[in-house]
Assembly symmetry: C2
């Protein structure tokens, strides 16, 4: 009998687990939110992951549970664990990817370098933080943010009035110093339940309009010291929080060569898509190995440089299929990955990976191929 891995959530991350699951001989089963989602091919159930009965029925037929996203509520996760289900990552780890305030407090305990931060309950507290930090800061809703939604640069205590108003009693927003970073990085680590862990090389991520646009792997011009520091931070968070599966640590590199943790994701991450084609073991295969408690794979890059570019939104005219064909015709080395989603402006509908010996060439080809979708 093949090991059955259940994935809650039917988006593109679950979809991209299908290919390695087939090759590894794992029986992938997906609980999708709707019919016709990205991971539809492997969807064995459709239902609401907020409903414990739905989730319980789904996990009855799997050996281990993992996730396409971080939105499954803690009470559902804890009920599964109480039922004796193997959940990876488990709720004790996942809470730190679900709540940025919990994460900041825990990283502080672990002594991991991060921006200065505080919980703020109202405009007065926010103004006090601003006064201490040069009059500018970043306010974040601790839960439910993605693609930059729930992140706002503020200059006055009243700039987050709407968010304060929407807060439940006793809740707080997160405020952080506005980091003058020179670039953003991401460090990925995979960790098995027993503690075996492997790290990928740190990569550079470029965001546009709050969304990851491009990834360069490994991070260009990274000193040996930076590479080691990023790996150490990644490993200490994976161990410290007891993460199982893939962990992505989003980082800021400052102009004085410090690196500060921005946030955590405990699943395959956009910053790791390059590894599908650019590393001996892609992150989706690695995540499956880790959550299924199989030995981890080699993380060595297959080429000196790999570049990933997201394909956002929909074409103005011409079908997505025609665009893909045009990109393939022009760029036979470009690896195109599509998510089977209806195109909508700004929505991630696929990505392109290009690897090669020359970084500028790889960037050029990846951009040129992706430009067919602008």
């Amino acid at each position: 009998m093949a090991l059955r891995v259940g994935v809650i959530g039917g988006g593109q991350l679950a979809r991209m687990m299908i290919a390695p699951a087939v090759e590894l001989g794992l029986d992938l089963r997906v609980l999708a939110e709707d019919e016709g989602m990205s991971a539809g091919l492997a969807a064995t159930a459709v239902g609401d992951y907020h409903d414990l009965d739905v989730v319980r029925a789904f996990v009855k037929d799997v050996d281990v549970v993992t996730f396409d996203h971080e939105h499954v509520p803690q009470d559902i996760l804890r009920a599964l664990v109480a039922d004796g289900v193997a959940v990876h990552p488990g709720p004790d780890a996942l809470q730190f990817a679900q709540d940025k305030l919990l994460m900041r407090a825990r990283l502080a305990e672990l002594g991991v370098p991060q921006p200065e931060w505080a919980p703020v309950r109202d405009a007065t507290e926010l103004q006090a933080f601003l006064d201490d930090h040069g009059g500018r800061a970043v306010v974040k809703t601790p839960r439910g943010g993605y693609d930059g939604k729930g992140v706002r640069v503020v200059r006055s205590g009243t700039d987050a009035a709407d968010w304060f108003q929407a807060l439940a009693d006793g809740d707080a927003l997160l405020v952080e110093e506005l980091v003058g970073f020179v670039r953003e990085l991401a460090q990925q680590v995979a960790r098995r339940p027993g503690g075996q862990a492997v790290a990928y090389p740190v990569v550079e991520t470029v965001q546009r309009d709050g969304v990851c646009a491009e990834v360069l792997a490994p991070a260009p011009q990274a000193s040996e010291r930076l590479v080691q520091l990023a790996e150490e931070i990644g490993r200490s968070i994976a161990d410290g929080l007891g993460v199982t599966g893939m962990l992505a640590v989003e980082l800021f590199e400052t102009d004085d060569e410090r690196i500060l943790v921005n946030e955590l994701a405990m699943r395959p991450h956009n910053s790791g898509h390059w590894s599908q084609d650019g590393a001996v073991t892609g992150q989706f295969e690695q995540h499956l190995r880790a959550v299924a408690d199989l030995p981890l794979g080699d993380t060595t890059p297959r080429a000196p440089w790999s570049v990933m570019i997201n394909i956002l939104g929909g074409p103005q005219d011409g079908s997505l299929g025609d665009r893909f064909a045009a990109a393939m015709a022009g760029y036979p080395t470009a690896k195109i990955h599509t998510y089977g989603k209806a195109p909508r402006p700004g929505r991630k509908v696929g990505h392109v990976n290009v690897s090669g010996a020359d970084l500028d060439d790889a960037v050029y080809v990846a951009r040129a191929a992706a430009a067919h979708f602008d």
Copy 2:
């Protein structure tokens, strides 16, 4: 709407099309012979491909038809073409992969180098061929052979008496000179309906007990001349026969640096499994691109050397899953591909790919990983 590619046959070749189909956004649909076959995840129908009604019902909902094997009868294929269905490879090409006598005659017309051969109807004709060829030859059943079944070395006209007896009226066996080859090679070419074609580097294949055991890619110590000659032969056959999709040309290399065509396969082939991990575009992705008439991908190797080793038969003790885990633990660079088949001695149940800068290292690691299955 995603392009729908229908595959007749639910074996491991159809299974290994699933991964690239998901990434390319193609809707793969498989007509499997039985429930629970290798390509079960993508099986949208189960039925007998000898039954025209079954096949017609299956192809109603696809845009193009291709194959997991070469066994679909010509009359079924021709009926589909008459119905207006896009069949790749088409029956006019496929007949030369289905019938070794037809192939020999057509390759002779094309002037492609091949062993001396003749059709033989009885022991007298076979003895005459033997007398002209040093008393030894290879007799083959023209149709339905695989993995060396249907191939026999003979020294006397009566050595194939059983096969002659089983021949239908008017049919013949194929006899070939026994080639004293120094090694076996395979050349792969992908060709689109419009004629665009790309070639992979020629590889060395090692058979054991008539079954492909190991593949070394590219073929070690191949001279520039040999590489070019193999590519030219592959391209001229693909063009000459109007092949669409992947073509594999099995070759003998002789000690006087000639290469002779052994036989043809018009589908992804065991000699091309290395490309899943070892080339920019794997043969399963390439086959899908070609039959779906999408631009072909780059065939450049991702590493200087890639080695493929088949996993045959079943473990004596311990589950296949445990064996995989042990192989993964020892060899994190080994890419393990499983076919989801019940293990049986001698049956191909998976393969291992290893790539690297050093051929001996890659061979060592691949053999060591595969040894967990002996």
